[in-house]
């Protein structure tokens, strides 16, 4: 391909954001329609990726490479494989929906808001395309600032606290990753090329060091237990579009980081840390699920459910087998669709009621039946009902984790019970029961809102019924990655009892924490 399609996808939103700068802020129509047009063109521009992608090779495709800062061997190096392509497409779609859901909801500083959204889109896609560590880091940090602003400027009453917490958490993680990147540069032959670095075999001790340096950044982003407490605050205070971007794309970057860096660059350390990672994941699944049962705030509940669902994702990835990993990646997409949709929906109802307290709702199904139907489908996908996308991912993850460590699969499967409990209870308290006086007379969804939710509903069903549409993109890339990670070791099975194994894994962690 001669057209630099990835660069176009990264910089088109940035150009759109720049184009908004001179627009008169008293003309919201122009601002909104410009942003929407840019995002729509972006989505159409990304569609050729879907059709021209070669699903039979694990090598990077649509590659662009140019020297950037030769003194430090920094390159402008882009390319995608079967894992990253799906996230680029999802980012392009989600941005449009975020613009639509903010159409009337954002009333102050509209121009800056839409500029921030477009900048985030460019940075997100940059993260998924980068094959140079330095470039990756720049995009990674570039996302942070507009997101910080979106929460801090357009958020709810406790927005400053939430924004700072988000910023500090991620910054500390990012800085440790920066340390890792610099060490990697020093020891890996003075290159930032991710592919070249993945080919090298680093000593085990260094791999461990790097694994934990990267872990700091990625675990916070996922977020894994116990570094998850920024997420409920950030989600709760962020405006709808902010929550959607966070849920659908931003927190996926942590898991993506594991796939793109931790596993390829530190394969032996990843295998050695498999059990501790699995343990953290199943804690997240159960802990994040049970804590949902105590929530009184609508957005906070969905935020905690993300902790639980992302636990499934990391569980799948660190099962280090095909079903687990493909399930994990699929579940990243699924969670983006489903939780993104839930936050879009919550944004719509919040715009009407201006309350997030669950007890302020009840009986909404009679007053907003179309909305109730959408929310029902999203709820069912969140609880992993077969026929929705959520089931396919969860099932493959449970299968993969059961193969890896059967006890992990069994404990994780309890998350399926807990998930049904908190989601259906939430649905009942909002849509069923006698109508709350505060919701009587609310108008049902208008056409714009239906258009916003419909793509998510269609994706939920299409992926649930024909998951091979997405899974087919993953096979070769995942097989390649797994061969690289587990190829050097004699398999990942274990004959040790599970308790001894957890204890062994923990012993391995401790010296490295002190290090």
């Amino acid at each position: 391909m001669d057209i630099p399609i990835l660069s176009i996808l990264i910089f088109l939103p940035v150009v759109g954001a720049l184009a908004l700068l001179p627009v008169d802020r008293e003309r919201p129509g122009i601002i909104k329609w410009t942003a929407l047009s840019v995002a729509t063109i972006e989505l159409f521009a990304s569609i050729p990726l879907w059709f021209h992608f070669d699903k039979t090779t694990a090598s990077m495709q649509f590659v662009e490479k140019a020297s950037w800062i030769p003194a430090w061997n920094i390159e402008y190096h882009l390319g995608i494989d079967g894992i990253s392509i799906l996230f680029i497409l999802l980012s392009a779609l989600v941005t449009i929906l975020c613009i639509l859901v903010s159409w009337n909801a954002i009333e102050k500083k509209r121009k800056e808001f839409f500029i921030s959204l477009l900048l985030i889109e460019g940075a997100m896609i940059g993260v998924f395309c980068s094959l140079d560590l330095f470039l990756f880091y720049i995009f990674w940090e570039a996302m942070l600032i507009p997101m910080f602003l979106i929460i801090g400027v357009w958020g709810g009453p406790k927005r400053i606290y939430a924004a700072v917490k988000f910023f500090l958490y991620t910054l500390v993680g990012s800085l440790l990753m920066l340390v890792g990147i610099i060490i990697l540069y020093q020891t890996g032959g003075h290159t930032f090329d991710i592919l070249a670095l993945s080919m090298q075999e680093f000593p085990f001790r260094l791999q461990m060091l790097l694994f934990w340096a990267f872990f700091a950044a990625f675990a916070v982003k996922v977020p894994m237990w116990p570094v998850h407490t920024w997420l409920p605050d950030a989600h709760t205070e962020a405006p709808a579009a902010g929550s959607v971007i966070l849920a659908a794309i931003l927190i996926k970057m942590g898991a993506y980081g594991f796939l793109r860096f931790s596993l390829p660059i530190c394969p032996d350390a990843s295998v050695a840390m498999m059990v501790p990672m699995i343990v953290l994941s199943i804690i997240a699944i159960v802990y994040g699920g049970i804590i949902c049962l105590g929530q009184t705030d609508l957005k906070r509940l969905i935020a905690y459910s993300s902790v639980s669902h992302m636990g499934f994702v990391t569980l799948g990835i660190f099962s280090l087998n095909t079903q687990g990993m493909e399930g994990g990646i699929l579940q990243m997409i699924n969670h983006g669709i489903v939780t993104g949709a839930l936050f879009l929906a919550v944004g719509m109802v919040y715009e009407r009621t201006h309350t997030r307290r669950i007890e302020d709702y009840g009986g909404l199904a009679s007053h907003m039946p179309i909305f109730a139907a959408f929310f029902m489908v999203f709820t069912l996908a969140a609880v992993g009902l077969p026929g929705t996308n959520g089931f396919v991912g969860e099932f493959l993850i449970l299968l993969g984790s059961f193969v890896a460590r059967s006890w992990a699969g069994v404990i994780a499967a309890t998350g399926v019970i807990i998930g049904a409990a908190y989601m259906l209870w939430l649905y009942q308290r909002i849509f069923f029961n006698p109508a709350n006086s505060k919701i009587i007379g609310l108008p049902d969804l208008d056409d714009r809102e239906i258009v916003t939710l419909l793509p998510m509903l269609i994706l939920i069903l299409v992926v649930g019924i024909f998951p091979t549409l997405l899974l087919d993109y993953l096979h070769v890339s995942v097989a390649h990655l797994l061969a690289h990670v587990t190829g050097n070791t004699a398999g990942t099975g274990s004959n040790v009892g599970y308790l001894a194994e957890i204890a062994g894994g923990m012993k391995q962690i401790l010296p490295h924490i002190h290090h």
Partner: protein, 642 residues
């Protein structure tokens, strides 16, 4: 293998109807919304009859439609299996569903949710048909969860009622407990056999014999483990102890739903599952004993509760739990065809009992308490006659459908090699007595004696319209005659039922001499007869007796009336502690105090977090960034110097 077009159409026609009706039903309005659902379910019934013809001619179809999920070595298709067991289920599901659809036109008349109701009925019919026609475990699981969804939606159909919304949620969540085991069983099956498709799994099932599976430091016999994990799902779906608690509450749904989903079809999915997996269950004596004992205990447990309930639908609901337990006894003692036989006859007489109750409730202006009924036979003659036939059938009166199937189960239990067989026979016979008693107690309280309701209710009393009573008549025919396809040899029949299902379900290797068979039959008939007789004495001849008994044993009465307090037990031991854990421990202590304490505490130790916050709010981010950058340099230095 070629698949005839009609096979996928059987489930997909109702699916199309669901999509159409949920989207456009409201625009069609009450006069027309039911056309498409009824037409499609009747078409599915017709195609099921075609399928029956094919199977009788020796056809067996196992064909895939498309690859559903593929990941590494894991592949599973959407595909269909048509054999003797499938076709029995097809006929049961489509025939009852058709009658319930038609009945609902009258019953749901005037309800604002009328189109939605028919859409959900179509959704349920589709789901149930997918469940029974699938050719692999994952499609079974799909149907399993989809019927659960339909059940959830229909139990909570009148969702503004808190009790209805609660009941729907409870049904879904309790079933998830069973599905937890079921799902793990499915995963384990894939690990062992490398596929989830029935044919290869069942062909290799015996390879599990003698192998064990180690988990949580324990070692399990593999066939027993797989069978019991699958049975977990069955216990949930078919409302057996300890997961029976959702079914009585499910009576919050409209009565046609109770008849279709919570009596005739969905709740029998557990029995279908065990029967379908008979090659796995047959490998484990332990598993079969567990199934048998679960059946026997549930059978007695539910029947005792049914003795004292006063809500007309609750009595029938507990009777359903008890009758499902009979089916599990049949499967547990290895007489799968007897279990399926009872599934089939029960579908007709129990659907009839429920729809009859619906007719009564309709006439009584939504009153469900039998203490307010009485003497209704004058006002509802068709309902009265059909309910009488259903009650005779469930009581096992010779010649009626329920007699043949229940007798078959009890005889097989008695003759079985399975350890718990004799125990199950004894319990089953006792429960046959109780069943007859509570069924006729309900019947007499409703239709005989004097009317005990209000004047307003009395003025309103009327027989239901034909659209409701004609389905009752069809079902009454089934309640009487459906058993005639399985008349045992000693009564001059050909035991056609068992022979028909033998290719799928096998034939239990037991032998009963004619004398024993006659004695067993006489015993169960006597038990049923005694039950009816006692009901006549207590509720027809001398109605003061029950009151005296209740007064003489107040504690026993209270325990039975409150269903042995199982709901209260679960509430105190599972629900409250879990929510308490969430609120008091996870939110307050671990997240609130510990993690947040550390997160906020570290910066506070290093500098002053609040000071940093204030500076950031002032816009002096660079101070903080400078501090961070400085520390990074220090860390870097520390790393690199070594």
């Amino acid at each position: 293998m070629n698949m005839p077009l009609y096979l996928p159409l059987i489930p997909f026609l109702p699916l199309a109807s669901f999509v159409f009706t949920i989207l456009f039903g409201n625009r069609l309005g009450e006069k027309r919304a039911h056309f498409v659902p009824i037409a499609t379910v009747l078409a599915s019934l017709a195609l099921s009859i075609v399928a029956l013809g094919d199977v009788l001619n020796g056809t067996r179809i196992n064909a895939d439609l498309y690859t559903w999920i593929q990941s590494g070595s894991f592949t599973v298709s959407v595909g269909f299996l048509l054999d003797q067991l499938t076709v029995v289920m097809l006929i049961v599901v489509t025939s009852i569903s058709s009658l319930v659809h038609i009945y609902s036109v009258g019953y749901m008349h005037g309800d604002p949710g009328y189109p939605r109701f028919f859409a959900y009925l179509s959704l349920f019919t589709f789901s149930m048909l997918m469940l029974v026609t699938g050719n692999n475990f994952l499609q079974l699981y799909f149907g399993w969860e989809a019927v659960g969804l339909s059940s959830y939606l229909l139990i909570g159909f009148w969702y503004e009622k808190v009790s209805a919304a609660n009941a729907g949620k409870k049904a879904f969540i309790v079933n998830r407990f069973g599905d937890f085991g079921f799902g793990l069983g499915v995963i384990l099956i894939f690990l062992l056999f490398g596929t989830l498709h029935y044919d290869p799994v069942f062909a290799q099932a015996s390879a599990m014999t003698g192998r064990t599976f180690d988990i949580f430091g324990m070692s399990f016999d593999l066939p027993t483990l797989v069978a019991l994990l699958l049975f977990c799902g069955a216990v949930g779906k078919s409302a057996q102890i300890p997961l029976h608690v959702w079914l009585p509450d499910a009576m919050e749904g409209p009565t046609p739903v109770s008849a279709l989903i919570h009596a005739a079809t969905m709740v029998t999915a557990g029995v279908f599952l065990v029967a379908r997996c008979n090659p796995i269950f047959a490998l484990s004596e332990t598993a079969l004993n567990v199934v048998t004992v679960t059946g026997a205990v549930t059978c007695l447990f539910a029947a005792t509760i049914a003795l004292v309930q006063v809500d007309i639908k609750r009595v029938v609901a507990y009777s359903t739990v008890s009758q499902l337990a009979y089916m599990f006894i049949g499967c547990g003692v290895g007489a799968y065809s007897a279990g399926i036989f009872h599934l089939y006859t029960h579908a007709y007489f129990k659907a009839l009992l429920f729809l009859g109750c619906g007719s009564v409730i309709h006439a009584m202006s939504n009153e469900q308490d039998v203490r307010s009924m009485g003497g209704l036979r004058k006002y509802l003659p068709i309902t009265y006659i059909t309910m009488l036939l259903a009650s005779l059938s469930i009581s096992g009166v010779p010649g009626f459908a329920g007699f043949f199937s229940k007798d078959e189960i009890l005889a097989m239990a008695y003759a079985s090699h399975v350890g718990a067989g004799k125990f199950a026979w004894a319990v089953g016979t006792l429960v046959a007595f109780m069943t007859a008693f509570y069924s006729f107690r309900l019947f007499f309280l409703t239709f005989h004696g004097k009317f005990r309701g209000t004047e307003a209710q009395k003025r309103h009393l009327h027989e239901s319209p034909y659209v409701m009573t004609i389905p009752l008549m069809f079902l009454a025919f089934g309640a009487v005659a459906s058993g005639w396809v399985g008349i045992p040899a000693i009564l001059g029949g050909g035991a056609h039922w068992t022979h028909f299902l033998e290719p799928v379900l096998g034939h239990p290797a037991v032998h009963l001499d004619h004398k024993t068979e006659w004695i067993l039959m006489a015993t169960s008939v006597a038990a049923g007869g005694l039950g009816i007789l006692l009901a006549i004495v207590m509720y027809l001849l001398n109605p003061s007796i029950p009151v005296k008994i209740g007064a003489a044993f107040p504690a026993a009465y209270r325990w039975l009336f409150n269903k042995y307090y199982v709901d209260e037990l679960y509430d105190a031991t599972i629900i409250k502690p879990t929510i308490g854990l969430a609120k008091s421990v996870l939110m307050k202590i671990t997240d609130g105090a510990i993690i947040e304490g550390i997160v906020n505490g570290i910066p506070r130790l290093v500098g002053s977090f609040s000071g940093v916050l204030r500076r950031i709010q002032d816009g002096n981010v660079q101070h903080y960034l400078a501090a961070m950058a400085g520390s990074v340099v220090l860390i870097l230095f520390w790393f690199l110097k070594g």
